[in-house]
């Protein structure tokens, strides 16, 4: 579904991503884990079209998306739930969802938009209860759910999530990850960016470990969980003996 080959990118003079190659197959949850500053967010920003690649090729469903801007990426069915939620704070929850569905409305009309919104309300009942509240007044967990619901309003093929667990209480994190696993069960494809390596690898099919802009380890999620280096660096478990 998504193929990245020899990608390089960065900001100004600073090269952040060095020769990244990865792929995401349809129906998978793929986790990208790594420490702060490893380039995880830069990577999804390039895919989402917010940042231009310097070198390399990107393909989404056989289509070349190397130079595709963000608004077109969303229309192609590749959406990003950005880091720090980025909800439209001074607008209502319902307005946020309607905006997320603007692509769907253009493609399939208002009826499809309404039914999609009902589906999201069913998935996140707390949002329905707060539908006329301003998004900025929601709690962190509710804002994360709103950001996810807003992205799902576009009926995407690939959902990219950047650090969905940041700043949330452990119980909420578990709820969010349950929902992500549910998305796969419904046939969605998810690219998950996380610092919380254990939580991410627990639900993921495969994973990549990013370190200073390079992929250092990749493999099945279970293999990564068992990998000594990964355990030491990202799972906080010192090997004995």
């Amino acid at each position: 579904m998504l193929t990245i080959r020899n990608l390089e990118s960065g900001y100004g003079q600073l090269r952040v991503l060095k020769n990244i190659s990865l792929h995401v197959r349809s129906g998978e949850i793929v986790a990208i884990i790594g420490a702060n500053g490893a380039g995880k967010t830069t990577l999804v920003h390039v895919v989402a079209g917010l940042l231009k690649p310097w070198r390399g090729d990107l393909f989404f469903q056989e289509e070349d998306i190397t130079r595709t801007p963000a608004e077109v990426m969303a229309a192609l069915g590749c959406v990003l739930v950005p880091e720090g939620r980025q909800v439209f704070a001074s607008m209502s929850v319902e307005d946020n969802l309607l905006l997320g569905g603007s692509i769907l409305r253009k493609r399939n009309g208002t009826a499809a938009l309404r039914s999609q919104m009902e589906q999201q309300y069913a998935r996140f009942p707390v949002l329905q209860a707060r539908r006329s509240q301003l998004a900025g007044t929601l709690s962190g967990g509710e804002q994360q759910m709103l950001a996810m619901a807003r992205a799902l309003m576009a009926k995407p093929r690939l959902v990219m999530m950047d650090e969905p667990s940041t700043g949330l209480a452990p119980l909420i994190v578990r709820e969010i990850f349950t929902i992500i696993a549910q998305l796969r069960a419904e046939g969605n494809t998810v690219l998950l960016i996380e610092q919380n390596a254990r939580a991410a690898l627990d639900i993921a099919d495969r994973g990549y470990v990013l370190e200073t802009g390079k992929i250092i380890v990749q493999g099945k999620a279970a293999e990564l969980l068992a990998n000594n280096d990964v355990q030491r660096a990202y799972l906080g478990r010192e090997q004995i003996g």
């Binding site: 963000a70 077109v72 229309a75 439209f88 001074s90 607008m91």
Partner: protein, 296 residues
């Protein structure tokens, strides 16, 4: 001050204030979508008046005004398409200087086309001395036209931003441009649209006020200053507050001539502007916290 005189000043103040309010709202629309102050805002008002005055020789008044508004909207769109859109990651300063440059260009262009003469549209109903009397209040029909047009514009704008899909998308771009792009909204088109909208509003206000204040190639500058003062007074980015601030500024200005000579009328707005910037830069109705949650 007699009651009659009081109402005379009040009505005059509200009339001018309504135009300041519309200019201020125009500032806000562009500020919200781009983060810049469009210093050519006053020129839109001047262009609206001037074009309508030229067209009224050939067309009925209503058509001349409609055409003037449409043409000014086109100029607003061209301004954005030619000068703003192609900039890659423009800095605020860059865009500011561009709008100042365009305002000078439009003013000089107007001088070239229409000369220095002072012109005006005919009164829409009756003439300069027609007045309706309500007790102590005497109203020129033109004043009613100005208030009606400005009121309708502000109300229509409010509905547009809060009820329509396009308006909602424009607000989204103002609140969080990146998130709007991620939702598949073409943010650049929204910027163009904001220039078109505020050009159209300015032009319509310019036509309405022209019979009362007359129009000259450089009448935009003063209006821009007053509108800017109103926008700052209300708190940048907040349109409903700008309307209140515009009316307040107009009324203050009208009553100022009971205290200071008429020639100092413009100084009232400037001193008020400086005073706000020194004391309460977030505006009368704004606070620094709310400024972050800005909305139309």
């Amino acid at each position: 001050m007699s009651l009659e005189l009081f109402f005379q000043y009040l009505v005059a103040g509200i009339t001018y204030g309504a135009v300041y309010a519309v200019v201020a709202v125009g500032f806000n629309i562009i500020y919200n979508s781009t983060g810049i102050i469009n210093f050519a805002q006053g020129e839109f008002v001047m262009l609206g008046g001037m074009i309508a005055i030229s067209l009224v020789q050939w067309l009925p008044l209503a058509w001349a005004i409609a055409a003037a508004v449409a043409l000014t909207m086109l100029i607003g769109a061209l301004m954005e398409l030619c000068c703003i859109r192609w900039l890659r990651q423009p800095s605020i300063l860059q865009m500011l200087i561009i709008t100042i440059g365009i305002s000078i260009l439009l003013r000089e262009g107007a001088l070239h086309i229409w000369g220095e003469g002072i012109r005006s549209l005919p009164y829409f109903y009756g003439d300069a001395i027609t007045a309706w009397t309500f007790g102590p209040v005497r109203l020129s029909p033109q004043v009613v036209w100005v208030l009606l047009a400005c009121g309708c514009m502000v109300a229509a704008l409010h509905l547009f931003f809060n009820r329509s899909t396009l308006g909602r998308e424009m607000r989204a771009c103002a609140v969080n441009r990146t998130a709007a792009a991620l939702c598949g909204i073409k943010t650049r088109n929204m910027v163009t649209l904001s220039f078109v909208l505020s050009a159209g509003m300015g032009a319509l206000a310019g036509c309405m006020i022209s019979p009362i204040t007359y129009t000259q190639y450089d009448s935009g500058a003063a209006l821009a200053l007053k509108g800017f003062t109103a926008a700052i007074l209300g708190g940048l980015g907040n349109s409903m507050a700008a309307v209140a601030a515009g009316l307040l500024l107009g009324i203050l200005e009208a009553f100022s001539i009971t205290l200071v000579p008429l020639a100092f009328q413009d100084a009232v707005a400037v001193s008020l502007l400086l005073l706000i910037l020194f004391i309460k830069p977030h505006g009368l109705f704004g606070s620094s916290a709310v400024a972050r949650l800005k909305a139309f």
